[in-house]
Symmetry: C2
Subunit: 463 residues, 2 copies
């Protein structure tokens, strides 16, 4: 088989979504279904999620359409009915979506979004929706932890070469900025999303010159006001002394060395020694930037140790969320044709029916407690409904939010999340309750499924 072509995003779906779709279609079972997307549990050391991915999800749903080439490929598989393929040719997403806006803080088991649509439309969208919300929430949550660890110091995304692909790199840059990073080194992401870009220099630049000092001087000539020198190519403290020479030359010429970057060795001790050398040379305004295997744990250790570091570049470990590269994100059918449904699989039981998440705040605006409820329950006193209508009839019903708005939202969400849940290691669990009505619905639905399914087949279906 060599059918190679560039498929549309509609074809980014698991084969079973399409085979199930055909079976629904052939059975005439095409009524409205609600799917609930949520995280079943927290990865290690996490106490919250930063909801992310909704912008891409809504773009996908608005544009969902199989191309002629997609359909020709499906036909070539010889598994699909021609009538069904004709149906797929005209398929568009006509359903509705209720979701937590991007940048909202969410907790385990809470739906981040619910899709209500004819079952085939909701089913086919599963693969992309889970992929994007899982990826983006995982990365945004990791990046938010770095921002918490950095206590207001500058953080810049350096992960472009380390993420799982270009798409992930661009999305990480956007999400980093959303949660408070100062910018990214990734120029494409800067262009695509309008994020500030920044950068220093690499070892290759230094080693390509006859000497470190010549390399520094040339870089300063090219960027006399935006120059950060990488000082560890040969010997870090000697590199700092070379940077000081260049800083003094720049100062004499009316410019200023912005900073120097440490990228290896004991960053705590080296940053102290570098700061002392700079201060001795009265270069108090030259900043120290650190990178090299840092994530929230490394940043926290350095700042607890009192490292005089002004900014951090975070790459590899943040780019892949190294300590928790995946999250248990699922998309479950919770209602079909008006009836609540669930599965009973060991340890994976779900909450049936359409839902809402209510969040209560303390008098000073801090998050106090969430309740997962049926979607038509009245809100508890002083509680806010977290899922809002974002798409109806396959079209967005709100304008696309700018990255600046999302960044502002996260900042306010983060400020409202009590500090104990910011803990980087073994945070406590935020309270998420299930409403009495939803509990009762779950019990009823479970009991009905158990009564129906756990009897012996021959009793149930005499033949």
């Amino acid at each position: 088989m060599d059918t190679s072509f560039a498929p549309s995003l509609a074809l980014f779906t698991d084969l079973y979504e399409l085979t199930m779709a055909q079976a629904y279609w052939q059975a005439g079972r095409t009524e409205l279904a609600t799917f609930s997307l949520f995280f079943r549990s927290y990865p290690p050391d996490r106490a919250f999620f930063v909801s992310a991915g909704l912008t891409d999800v809504l773009d996908y749903l608005e544009n969902l359409q199989f191309s002629a080439a997609d359909l020709a490929y499906l036909r070539s598989l010889r598994r699909f009915d021609h009538g069904f393929l004709d149906y797929l040719a005209s398929l568009r997403f006509t359903g509705s979506v209720r979701a937590m806006p991007e940048g909202t803080i969410a907790f385990a088991n809470e739906p981040l979004l619910e899709v209500t649509a004819p079952i085939i439309e909701g089913q086919i969208a599963e693969t992309y929706l889970v992929n994007q919300v899982n990826l983006q929430t995982t990365l945004a949550t990791k990046a938010a932890r770095v921002v918490h660890a950095a206590r207001g110091k500058t953080v810049v995304d350096f992960a472009a070469r380390r993420t799982h692909g270009v798409e992930a790199a661009d999305k990480l840059a956007r999400l980093g900025y959303l949660v408070g990073f100062a910018g990214t080194s990734n120029v494409a992401a800067g262009a695509r999303y309008g994020i500030p870009v920044s950068g220093t220099m690499a070892h290759s630049f230094v080693t390509s010159f006859p000497s470190e000092l010549e390399a520094f001087r040339q870089f300063a000539r090219s960027f006399p006001d935006t120059c950060t020198l990488l000082v560890d190519s040969y010997d870090t403290l000697q590199g700092v002394r070379h940077a000081i020479i260049v800083a003094q030359e720049l100062r004499q010429a009316g410019h200023r060395l912005q900073g120097l970057r440490l990228d290896s060795g004991d960053l705590l001790s080296l940053s102290r020694q570098a700061r002392a050398l700079l201060d001795d040379a009265r270069l108090h305004d030259v900043q120290i930037f650190a990178s090299g295997g840092l994530d929230e744990y490394g940043v926290d250790d350095l700042l607890r140790g009192g490292a005089p570091i002004d900014g951090f570049g975070v790459g590899t470990k943040v780019g892949v969320s190294a300590d928790a590269p995946w999250t248990d994100c699922v998309y479950k059918l919770v209602e079909y044709a008006g009836q609540p449904v669930l599965k009973l699989s060991t340890g994976k039981q779900t909450l049936p029916g359409r839902k809402q998440v209510f969040r209560r705040r303390t008098a000073d605006g801090q998050f106090e407690r969430d309740v997962i409820a049926c979607d038509d329950e009245p809100p508890p006193t002083n509680a806010e409904a977290m899922l809002v209508d974002v798409m109806v009839g396959g079209k967005r019903i709100r304008p696309v939010e700018s990255l600046t708005e999302l960044r502002r939202r996260f900042q306010s969400e983060s400020a409202a999340l009590p500090k104990i849940f910011h803990a980087l290691r073994s945070p406590p669990k935020y309270e998420v309750a299930v409403s009495e009505r939803l509990q009762a619905l779950q019990q009823r639905t479970s009991a009905a499924a158990a009564a129906r399914e756990l009897s012996a087949p021959h009793e149930q279906h005499p033949r």
Copy 2:
């Protein structure tokens, strides 16, 4: 700043690659440079890498070109010289690449590829090259370990919803097939790369029907010859009994149930019980397929335990290489204008100069020992040169290899890798030596750099 547009792949580079490029250009330092891409160390439990990503790397280099919109964006940053941006407008990759073909087994510290080009071209390519080789080698290596663990049983990629984005999902599907998976659930990847697609059904299908048995019957009606039933939505063994009813109905109608899938619970015990129930019903040809959090460790445990499982679907943990989501992949300048260079940073010293990797095999064709050498050294007796010319003057000099060829290559490489290095846990280290000439070159280059850089700045540069 809201410059949002879709940048070309050329802009997928770290800002410092472009600022360094401007500094090289302004200094008139634009001679040939060689960059060496390699993995500095093994992630836990790894003893080899499956070299991957070269196809995308060569596509990128052949098409490297800044668009007018890219250049307008760079101009808007107000950091770049107009003359330099004009130079970038006409920049194409004109260099050469020597590489291990995709699917080759490689070891730590061995260059997987070397780029020789005018320094600016080689420098700008760094971000994309490292991103792709790192991602693809990491995923291919993880997938190869699953194939080793599966001992010839079927493995299918189920990771589309779990990878870090659509790009990573498509690439994993391709790499899984390259190392021996039977196929993928990802329809877009099947289309893009001509990989067999396969799939079963989801819990949502089962729970959307009034009963499990009705769901199974409908699915069997739609796919009477390619139907694998998911049996754990309510109670696994009851689900197996329902599947047996459908299998018997299919048999009476002249069809065959392909298999059933277990996706939760104790897969060892459930697969035995399911097999026994199937065999009692004389359904010996109905296969058992298992999924749910499996990677090489889970597959190995099940098969060591004697689980009667015929095939495995691997998702999350393989899709993100969960136990080792990143690898220490670097791209280092090793030669500039004919002179070998290196950096001395603590613990990160590099091998200078253009290199070759020689691999010696035993009489029966097994890999015995590698030597990293200078590129113009004569090969040791009975040793094969692993880096081959793949691009000259910015153009591929060999036809693009088909995925089938790559799959065949990996199969033969894997067979030649002694079994002790297939060990999933704590494998021994394969011997990789550094030739005497390269050792001597490293010592000379280090000593020269140390003599030059480790003296006090004022002695070196009297002012």
